[in-house]
Each structure stands twice: as C-alpha cells, then as structure tokens.
C-alpha cells in the first residue's frame, strides 16, 4: 500500500515536470503548433530593418495578423528582405499597401505595421509590398537634427 502512494507521487512528479516543459514551450517561448498551411507569405524590401527580428509581430490597425519568418540580405540590391507569414484569414491586403517598421514605445521591440492602400487587387502568396518604410534609427535622426538637415531633406 505504501509503495502505491510512492508510485503515484512519482508519476505525478514526472507528469508535472513534463507539463512544466510544455507550458514553457507554449507560454514562455511562444512556440506554436500552427502549421504553415494557415499562413501565406509576403515579402518586403527595406533599406534598413533596424533591430527587426524573426517572430516579431505584423500588425494591421493595431491587430496582430502574422509573424516575421526571416530577415535576410538581398545580395543584388543590398536591401534587407523580410519574409512575413500572414494569417490566411487576412487575404484582402490591397496591392498598394505600405509596410512600415515601427517601434513599440521609445525603447520597445520593433514590428511591422501595415497601412492599407485603396486598390481592388489583393496581394497573393509570394508577392511583395512595393511601398515600404524603413526603421527609424534614433541615432541617425539625432545626427540629422545636429547637422540641421531635417528641414532640407523634405
């Protein structure tokens, strides 16, 4: 009888350990089991992606609609190519929409915000955003202010 309680508590301990690992995978590291079938890919080219990282969110009107899959350098154009996985339920992004890299707060993480265009044609899997807006680099901005070149640029 005593051995039985020992066995039960050991089993519960093992189970608790495994569950803790699973909980960490899901809740802490944000590992999701959603397959690639539920998203479609869009790409965008940026002059500078700042500190944009894979798995950063993509938001439209403040609502998260996808995640960044890869950030890589396009060797031919020397631009950063960002591959995004967009939720396939959001399949009506107009072809003239803008993808902009914005920062959550002054020091927060960077993500991509999509501003809707007005075209009737929608972006399909594998297509790219023509209109992009690079990350705002705080140091560059301060430098421009110091040189007094902010007004002249525009």
């Amino acid at each position: 009888m005593r051995m039985r309680t020992v066995e039960i508590s050991v089993g519960a301990f093992m189970l608790a350990g495994m569950l803790a690992l699973v909980a960490m995978a899901v809740k802490v590291s944000g590992l999701t089991t959603s397959g690639s079938g539920e998203t479609y890919e869009l790409t965008a080219y940026f002059d500078n992606t700042g500190s944009l990282k894979p798995r950063a969110k993509i938001s439209m009107a403040g609502v998260t609609i996808g995640k960044i899959k890869r950030v890589e350098l396009d060797k031919d154009s020397y631009m950063a190519k960002v591959v995004m996985g967009i939720d396939s339920k959001v399949d009506n992004i107009p072809i003239d929409s803008t993808a902009a890299i914005v920062t959550a707060g002054l020091l927060g993480e960077q993500f991509i915000s999509i501003s809707i265009g007005g075209d009737d044609i929608y972006l399909q899997n594998g297509e790219r955003f023509e209109d992009t807006q690079s990350a705002l680099i705080l140091e560059e901005l301060i430098g421009k202010f110091l040189l007094g070149s902010v007004g002249k640029d525009n």
């Binding site: 301990f13 690992l21 802490v28 590291s29 944000g30």
Partner: protein, 264 residues
C-alpha cells in the same frame, strides 16, 4: 633542512596522487554503476523508490524557492526598468534569467543540499554498518543494487525539477509584475515570447540541468561510497558532497554558458 624539503615535497605528491586516484576511482565507479545490467527483477521498483526520495521530496523546496526568486526578480527588474519607462521588459528579464541561468543553477544547488547530502549520508551509513559488504557477500553487487538506481533517479529528477522551478518562477514573476505592480499583461507575455527561444534558451537550460544532475548525483553517490566508514567520515563526506557539487555546478555553469551563449 634538506630532509624537511623532501618531506614536504612527498606530502604534496601524496596529496596530488590521492586526488587523482580518487578521480580515477570515481570514474571507474560511475562506469560500473551505469553500464552494468542489473539482473534482479525489482529494479523498476528500486528506481521509483529513489525517484521519490530524490525527486518528489525535493519538490517543495524547489517550488518555494522558484516562486520567491521569480517574485524578487520581477520586483527588482521593475524598480530599475520603470525609470526608463520600459517596465514591459520585466517579463523578458524574468524569463531569460530564470530559463538560462537561475533555473538550472539554483535548482542544482538546492538539489545538492537537499538530495545530494542525503544520498551521501545514506550510502555512507550503509557502508559504515557493513550493509554494502554483506550485500557483496550474498552475491548482490551494491553498485547495481544501491548506486545505479540512485544515480539514475538524480539524473532524471534534475531537469524535471529545473523545469518546474522555471515555470513557478515565471508565474511568481507575473504575479508580482502583472497583478501587483500593474505591468500591462500583454507586453509582459509577448515581450517574453519574442525574446525566449525554445531551443536556444529553454533547451540549453535543460541541457545544463541535465549536466548538473549527472555531476551532482555522481559526486553524491561517490562520496558516500568512498566515505571512511566512521561517523566522522560520513559527516566529512556529506560536507564534501555539498562543497564539491556546489563548486562543480558554478564552474561548469560558466563553461556551459560560454559554449552555449558566448562567443568564446
């Protein structure tokens, strides 16, 4: 005068040789304990009994420590980060420091104190009361019967304990950060999820705790088996277990961190 110098030299040599010998003995000991197939039937039962002693009974101290460490981390992180207006990063701070460092290391230190010392004392007393030699006399290998189940129980328990420690710590951090200090829940969890990678952070933390589990249990069972069979010898062996395993854990943690996360 000359004779004295030689005597000191001999002492030093004896000291070094003794330590090298004990390292060698412990290696052979571990090898024999692990790679010998047990022939008796109830080895599953023995392992379960040890898992209970080593794992389940360490659960309370590990859970309570994890909870408080997570809460303190959140409190300290908040008090600094709030002055930069980035208190949303508290979740990230708590999760990364727990998963990468504090979880494996603190669990291993607690484990050495709670379970390691108990293993050493138990095995040492078995040796002192000649239970080990009577086992040998009736043809049962004490390495298989006594050491192997304890060793495996330690190795299995350690990562599980560390995982529980991490999870409880993060929950404690979220309790303090989100519920008491009023950090926005969304930024707490998303900040965490974006910065913690499952393989690189959680996985490497688990590898660390597995290594610590092997080392701490190895030291504990060997010190018990190698103890001088007197009450004083057992007390010394128990002390040595805690000291050696704590030092080994902290030293190995630096090496493992340098290999996993550093650019060394």
């Amino acid at each position: 005068m000359k004779f004295d110098v030689l005597g000191r030299l001999a002492q030093l040599g004896q000291f070094v040789l003794g330590h090298i010998q004990s390292i060698g003995r412990s290696g052979i000991f571990l090898f024999l304990a692990i790679f010998s197939r047990a022939s008796f039937k109830n080895k599953g039962e023995l392992l379960i009994r040890q898992l209970y002693n080593v794992g389940v009974l360490s659960l309370i101290i590990v859970t309570v420590s994890g909870l408080f460490i997570g809460m303190v981390l959140a409190l300290q992180g908040y008090s600094i980060l709030v002055s930069y207006g980035s208190e949303g990063a508290v979740g990230q701070l708590v999760a990364l420091s727990l998963v990468r460092e504090l979880g494996p290391v603190v669990t291993a230190l607690l484990f050495a104190g709670r379970a390691g010392s108990a293993l050493t004392a138990e095995i040492g007393l078995m040796k002192a009361t000649e239970q080990l030699s009577s086992m040998e006399m009736i043809g049962v290998d004490p390495l298989k019967r006594v050491i192997a189940p304890r060793f495996w129980a330690g190795v299995i328990s350690m990562p599980l304990l560390a995982a529980i420690f991490n999870l409880v710590g993060i929950l404690g951090g979220s309790m303090v950060g989100v519920d008491w200090l009023g950090i926005y829940e969304g930024s707490f969890w998303t900040g965490m999820q974006q910065s913690v990678d499952f393989i690189d952070d959680v996985g490497n933390g688990m590898v660390k705790s597995l290594v610590f589990g092997i080392v701490v249990t190895w030291i504990a069972v060997f010190q018990g088996y190698d103890a001088t069979p007197t009450s004083e010898g057992i007390s010394r062996a128990t002390t040595r277990t805690v000291v050696y395993s704590s030092l080994a854990v902290l030293g190995l943690d630096f090496i493992l961190t340098a290999v996993m996360f550093g650019e060394l």
